[in-house]
Amino acid sequence: MQPDAPRTFAPAPRVSVARRSATLSTQTLVLALVVLLIVLNGLPFVWGVLTSMKSEQDLFRFPPAFFDFEPTLDNYRRVAATGFLGNMLTSFAYCIVAVFFVLAIGLPAAYAFDRYQFPLRQPLFLLIVASIPLSIGAAALLIPTYIYFARLGLTNTFFVLPMIYAAHQLPMTIWILKGAIESIPRELDEAAIVDGVSRLGVLRHVVLPLSRPALAAASILAFVGSWNEFVAGSVMVDSPGLKPIQPLVYSFIGFFGREWGPLTASATLAMLPILLIFILFGRQFVAGLTKGAVKG
């Protein structure tokens, strides 16, 4: 079943027949779920943002102070004084570089896995799938991995984190992009090859434009994954200028206690770019996965 291409590219208002005939009880159930979710997700978030604007004395006032407190920006000033904004730029650079390499390496690989017939194709692709657990569970081997990279002289360098992030996101990206390329009709690239276009040319002029939404979706997932990475970021680099932001957020849960004010202030700042990305590219994201791995 191929998704109809025109609608995916320009989502036209579609009539959901299911909506009309859905029973009232399912609708109520779904509505209740959504309301519950708004409470469960929204309340801690709102509370976190409010906490970031509280002074020491107001933090743990009991009964809890929802709005009747004197808001202050002191926590944000404290966070800024530690160079947090500079580290946000560092993190941003890491993620952009990682995403660039993930796409540059992932797209040709995904294309080859889908379009070429070559020996060991299937086992090699399963090897890519098998490395997903290694990337998601990498934290469990933290210390041996640290010793290994330290022996090789890679720790505390500007490139170690983008390299690790790229490797962590690569398997998933190849998986998603392969799905996207599957849905591009083979006739298109065959026609181009008959016209004398090289394989590289097909990749550039046929596959790249048609899988752009999937590339966007994969990039967003890779960016979010790298932005939120904590364990490698806290261990692999030491110089303050090389630190990404997640360990810095965590550093406010210090040896001398949780400093809720700066902690929530820095966590709020750390979330902003991702919310922004979803607001700006949210539609791309859905369209991309639509054309991508998500093909039925």
């Binding site: 998704p3 109809d4 989502p11 579609r14 027949v17 299911a18 909506r19 029973t23 509505l31 779920l33 959504v34 979710l37 978030f45 743990f60 929802f66 040709p108 690989a109 896995f113 017939q117 070559f118 194709r121 299937q122 090699l124 399963l126 890519i128 098998a130 997903i132 657990p133 290694l134 990337s135 998601i136 569970g137 469990a140 081997l141 933290l142 041996p144 290994y148 390299m163 490797a167 962590h168 690569l170 998603i176 939120n228 904590f230 965590y250 949780r258 966590a267 991702i274 919310l275 979803f278 607001i279 994201f285 859905v286 369209a287 996965l289 639509t290 791995a293 998500v294 093909k295 039925g296």
Partner: protein, 285 residues
């Protein structure tokens, strides 16, 4: 022949990167785990002593069982709820859908430690705003974590809460790809909404489901932050799962040998599970 060269040239960089960053540390860790580890450095070769110690640990079977329960139920519940919610959001008007998506992804995009701490503070702690509201309305206190079942239920609840956003986003994208003609055709044939969902929607969601199940399973198995921050593994070990055990071996007891051995065993199991799952679902490579 030429095509083979091109194919290998295309996939080679991917294997160079994953091989170096993901696989070679595992090989090093395997070598590491076969030695006696003292004071954080590698000592004499001692065969499988670190692995043998795992076999002798009488607490591990229980921990394994709890890991299976936690991961199994968390994944199942997350997928079920995510399906319902993504169907709901799918039917919303675009602007409402955007807001709903934003709300849904909040816990997923917050750092795991901060998100869990905030959840615990707001909903569980008796000085939290929700617990305070509930206790002043109802007059009774809510203390779910002081018994074993309650603590595990809560851990599963928070695991679902934390990762629901990811599942919703991916499933929602899958729903959007289902052509409305299929649904309409089925309805013309007199299918009930439930039949439409079961016979049309679900089968067409197979690939996104696979993605979601694999990622959620791995994320839940490997989570340290959620149980550590929420319950510390207690009470009476009720929420001690394997990942927490690896963490405590490495950072509380500083037994790097057995921590690494256990992590490797977990990796092996994870890989077998993912591959088996991919095969079982008949996913075409």
């Amino acid at each position: 022949m030429k095509s083979n060269t091109a194919a290998f040239a295309s996939v080679a960089p991917a294997f160079a990167v994953t091989g170096f960053v993901l696989f070679s540390p595992v090989v090093y860790a395997l070598w590491f785990s076969l030695h006696e580890i003292r004071y954080g450095s590698v000592g004499a070769f001692d065969g499988g002593a670190n692995f043998l110690r795992l076999l002798q640990d009488y607490t591990l079977p229980g921990t394994l069982l709890r890991t299976v329960i936690h991961t199994g139920l968390s994944v199942l519940i997350t997928v079920a709820i995510a399906l319902a919610i993504s169907v709901g959001i799918d039917r919303m008007k675009p602007r409402a859908a955007l807001v709903a998506k934003m709300v849904v992804i909040l816990p997923w995009i917050t750092s795991a430690v901060v998100a869990t701490l905030l959840f615990r503070w707001v909903f569980i702690n008796d000085i939290g705003v929700a617990s305070y509201a509930v206790s002043s309305l109802v007059g009774a206190e809510f203390q779910p974590m002081t018994n074993s079942t309650g603590a595990m239920t809560l851990l599963i609840f928070v695991s679902v809460w934390k990762r629901l956003g990811y599942a919703v986003i991916v499933l929602l994208a899958g729903l959007k790809s289902i052509p409305s003609e299929c649904v309409e055709a089925a309805q013309v044939d007199g299918a009930t909404p439930w039949q439409v969902f079961r016979l049309i929607t679900l089968p067409l969601l197979k690939t996104p489901m696979l993605l979601v199940v694999v990622v959620l399973t791995l994320a839940n198995i490997n989570t340290v932050e959620t149980p550590l921050v929420l319950t510390g593994g207690g009470p009476n070990d009720a929420t001690r799962i394997l990942a927490l055990d690896v963490y405590e071996r490495a950072f509380a007891i500083f037994d790097l040998g057995s921590a690494t051995a256990l992590a490797l065993v977990m990796f092996a199991a994870n890989i077998v599970m993912v591959l088996a799952y991919v095969r079982l679902t008949g996913w075409r490579v």
